[in-house]
Symmetry: C2
Subunit: 159 residues, 2 copies
């Protein structure tokens, strides 16, 4: 069910040089082309690899400010709030969580001043009781997956 060592190497390779084709990948990995093709098909159909979407930088789009907002929701309003937040482009992701808040969402904005507008739009909705926002200053570890892939590949190596 998990991935093996070759899968791990393939994913890491794809992550490092996303534009290489199947043939080049097979050369790098030292296996036959058909093998790489089969592995990629399997990884995608298993859902390990969801896709190869372009990795867009919000900052380069004019949205250099990132923030995380913890939301408290009025009982029973969850679905409405979710639907509301989904309509706000500046909401990049939304999770429902345990703990102090009920939801956690990632926001971006054009500036700190613009963040106020975004937050107003986010919380300007019936079911949201309270919001507390944390502005991101630095991002020492950008979203990454390779170390985890390597870990997963290691774990299944000794099977």
């Amino acid at each position: 069910m998990a991935i093996d060592h070759l899968d791990g190497r393939l994913i890491v390779l794809l992550a490092r040089e996303p534009r290489i084709g199947v043939l080049e990948a097979s050369r790098r990995l030292g296996v036959a082309r058909g093998t790489v093709q089969a592995r990629m098909d399997r990884l995608q159909s298993q859902g390990v690899i969801r896709g190869f979407g372009p990795d867009v930088d919000p900052a380069a789009l004019g949205y250099p400010v990132t923030a995380f907002a913890t939301l408290e929701i009025k009982q029973g309003q969850g679905a409405d709030v979710r639907a509301h937040l989904a309509t706000v482009p500046e909401v990049l992701e939304l999770h429902t969580t345990t703990g102090h808040g009920d939801m956690l969402c990632r926001l971006v904005a054009r500036s700190n001043a613009d963040l106020q507008r975004v937050i107003d739009r986010v919380v300007g909705f019936e079911g949201i009781v309270r919001a507390s926002t944390a502005i991101v200053m630095e991002n020492p570890v950008p979203l990454r997956i390779i170390p985890l892939v390597e870990q997963a590949a290691e774990d299944s190596r000794d099977s």
Copy 2:
């Protein structure tokens, strides 16, 4: 500096069907191949598109549990804590923030029980004073960028 309407359509197209080539994209967009090529080169060199890394699902890798941890750091220990967290594969991203905590990190684990191990490893470090964790239950809005791209493309349309 921002993106225009054609850039927006191109990014959306790439996001929807990441495996299409330049030629196919030019057909879909109704422009010449060279134009698409030039746009993609520009978007990448401008950093709007960082790359086309495979989008790997941690759940399919055997890590179905996601959590966000807010960390409080002892004064002056920031750099050490960052370096420490960077060595933990289960730490998928790390931000330094304003607000109640000093850092916010995204974690994954093999199970709720395993999450304890991960948290122990994360906080088992000198400079971390306190950690509060929120486990993700649902993810109604998975990390997305298309609405923002469309927004950015709209904004520059009326120039």
